[in-house]
């Protein structure tokens, strides 16, 4: 398609006898946030690093704006901004120096305003090794976007960040998307993926197990609605009962959790049961399946309820 910014076709990467990525294909459209999800060792970082030109594919092709990252690295480096999984700068380098250094290589004016915006204003003359993990991640993000690249690759950008920093980073990502920047986000954080991404690909053992928007993915799962019930006398804890449309039930703390195909049938039946047993409802929650539920369903199918709890 014309607005495909990133194209990955039959990409395969092998390390010795280990197949890290096994012939995956996907495309990322202009201006979208695309999530790469998967458990450890699924091939996310290998895919990201191959797009960044750090690893050479064993076979298949990767293109960013029709540029081959491995063969045309010089054309690539102004097109992409990268926040690596581990923040990597010399320990004695200050944020101000890092900004000058990388902007000079990108031939753009240093963006001290970005350092201010990301909360590094007071620390811009502190050495990198003296910054907290959160500030190091913020600096990595500032450096990744300082040259205003059309494509940004973020590998676990919120790992190790506190809640405030996370919210700030999400705000920056939204601003970038509003400006038309295409973002590829590799993350373990399902809530972040569900909230921030337009589409995701779930990688499992080097293959794409599912792809689509978070809404599409959750809709194509087993469709079970999670109904959590807590009552005053705990009658359901002693006898969880048999209710219509319920496929599985578990007890967790003071709650009985039912997985139902049809909440409209299950909930009135539970309420009737409580009334019959002269018990009073304390809490009732009905939740649609989340991306995390769907992710666990795909990645851990052998666990009860796909690993849901």
């Amino acid at each position: 398609m014309k607005d495909d910014v990133v194209l990955v076709k039959d990409f395969r990467k092998v390390y010795g006898d280990t197949v890290a990525v096994d012939g995956i294909s996907f495309e990322v459209h202009h201006g979208e946030i695309f999530g790469l999800l998967g458990p450890n060792g699924a091939g996310k970082t290998t895919t990201m690093e191959s797009l960044e030109g750090l690893r050479q594919p064993s076979s298949g092709s990767l293109r960013i704006f029709e540029v081959d990252p491995t063969r045309q690295p010089k054309s690539l480096h102004n097109m992409i901004g990268v926040q690596l999984q581990s923040s990597s700068l010399p320990g004695s380098m200050t944020p101000h120096e890092a900004m000058e250094f990388f902007c000079a290589y990108h031939q753009v004016t240093p963006r001290d305003d970005l350092l201010e915006r990301l909360g590094l204003g007071d620390k811009k003359h502190s050495q990198f090794s003296a910054l907290s993990t959160g500030l190091q991640r913020r600096l990595a993000l500032a450096l990744a976007i300082a040259h205003d690249p059309p494509v940004v690759l973020l590998d676990e950008p919120t790992a190790g960040l506190d809640v405030g920093s996370r919210v700030e980073l999400h705000e920056v990502m939204r601003e970038m998307r509003a400006k038309g920047t295409t973002i590829i986000l590799a993350t373990h954080d399902m809530a972040e993926a569900e909230k921030m991404t337009d589409r995701v690909a779930i990688l499992l053992k080097g293959k794409i197990a599912a792809t689509g928007s978070p809404t599409q993915l959750t809709a194509t799962g087993n469709g079970l609605v999670k109904i959590s019930v807590s009552s005053e006398a705990g009658s359901l804890l002693q006898n969880a009962g048999v209710f219509p449309a319920v496929s599985q039930q578990i007890i967790k703390d003071e709650y009985v959790i039912y997985y139902s195909h049809e909440a409209g049938e299950t909930v009135p039946a539970i309420l009737d049961s409580l009334k019959t047993q002269d018990d009073r409802l304390v809490d009732l929650r009905v939740e649609r399946p989340s991306l995390e539920d769907r992710f666990l369903e795909i990645t851990q199918p052998d666990l009860p309820n796909g690993g849901k709890s």
Partner: protein, 271 residues
């Protein structure tokens, strides 16, 4: 050019800011110089005439063989070079800039030694300043290239210590710094010709200080230059952005080619 300048300035400042580099670039060589000036000039009368080049060579070895390789290995292992690669920093800059900034540190220390050794320790002053500076620059280039090559081919810090000390320690004892090479027994003299300092001292003695060289100092210049050029070229050729993605076909044993001029020198000049 701006990027190169920023990179160079950052690297130079690191040589002053980083405590271990400050130690290797300035504190250790200048402290050693003062100690030798106070002790050796009284104990060994042959030391004072060549004290300046000897102490400059100690400074060069500390800066290049002991100081320069470690940041290269650490940066590669920590993924710093990967960040550099993604942001368009060329491998040539990564190899060249530490060599150049080492040059500047060496020159600053050399100035201090050259202009204080005479008045304070009655050291011999160069008779030919042109050759003195030329040999200084050439030796600094060769040493810095060797240091960079050690950093490029060393898989870890332990390997750096092994490779660096293989040159540093024998150079201190046999390299003509404390005792002139012509006073060594023949077998040790031949071994001393495997060390860059022996050639630098011979060139300085013959061309800059008006003393009798052990062999034609022009050969010394040629050996130093060829080894420096090979070491620099090999450092660029064998450079790896990270330890996980070694470039295939680039055998690190090629680095041994750097020793070829010294081996030839030992064979041809050690008679």
């Amino acid at each position: 050019m701006t990027a190169f300048f920023h990179h160079f300035m950052y690297d130079f400042r690191t040589g002053l800011r980083d405590k271990s580099l400050l130690l290797m670039n300035y504190l250790f060589p200048l402290g050693f110089y003062v100690l030798m000036g106070l002790l050796m000039t009284g104990l060994n009368p042959t030391f004072a005439p060549t004290m300046i080049p000897a102490m400059i060579l100690v400074a060069m070895m500390a800066c290049t063989l002991l100081g320069l390789p470690n940041p290269v290995v650490e940066s590669r292992e920590a993924g710093i070079f990967r960040s550099f690669k993604i942001n368009g920093v060329p491998a040539l800059s990564i190899v060249t800039i530490p060599v150049l900034s080492s040059f500047v540190h060496i020159i600053l220390v050399s100035i201090i030694i050259t202009f204080t050794a005479g008045p304070f320790f009655k050291a011999g002053i160069p008779a030919n300043w042109g050759y003195f500076v030329l040999i200084l620059l050439l030796t600094a280039f060769t040493m810095a290239s060797l240091g960079m090559l050690i950093g490029v081919v060393s898989p870890n810090s332990r390997a750096i210590v092994l490779f660096s000390q293989t040159i540093f320690l024998p150079s201190m004892i046999l390299g003509g710094l404390m005792i002139p090479s012509n006073m060594l027994p023949t077998s040790l003299y031949r071994i001393s010709l495997l060390l860059p300092t022996s050639y630098a001292m011979n060139a300085w003695r013959g061309l800059a200080f008006g003393m009798a060289p052990t062999f034609d100092p022009r050969w010394a210049l040629l050996v130093l230059l060829s080894s420096g050029v090979i070491a620099f070229a090999m450092a660029i050729y064998l450079f790896n952005w990270d330890s996980k993605n070694q470039r295939s076909g680039h055998n690190p044993f090629l680095a041994l080619l750097t020793l070829l001029p010294f081996v030839l020198g030992a064979i041809l000049l050690g008679v």
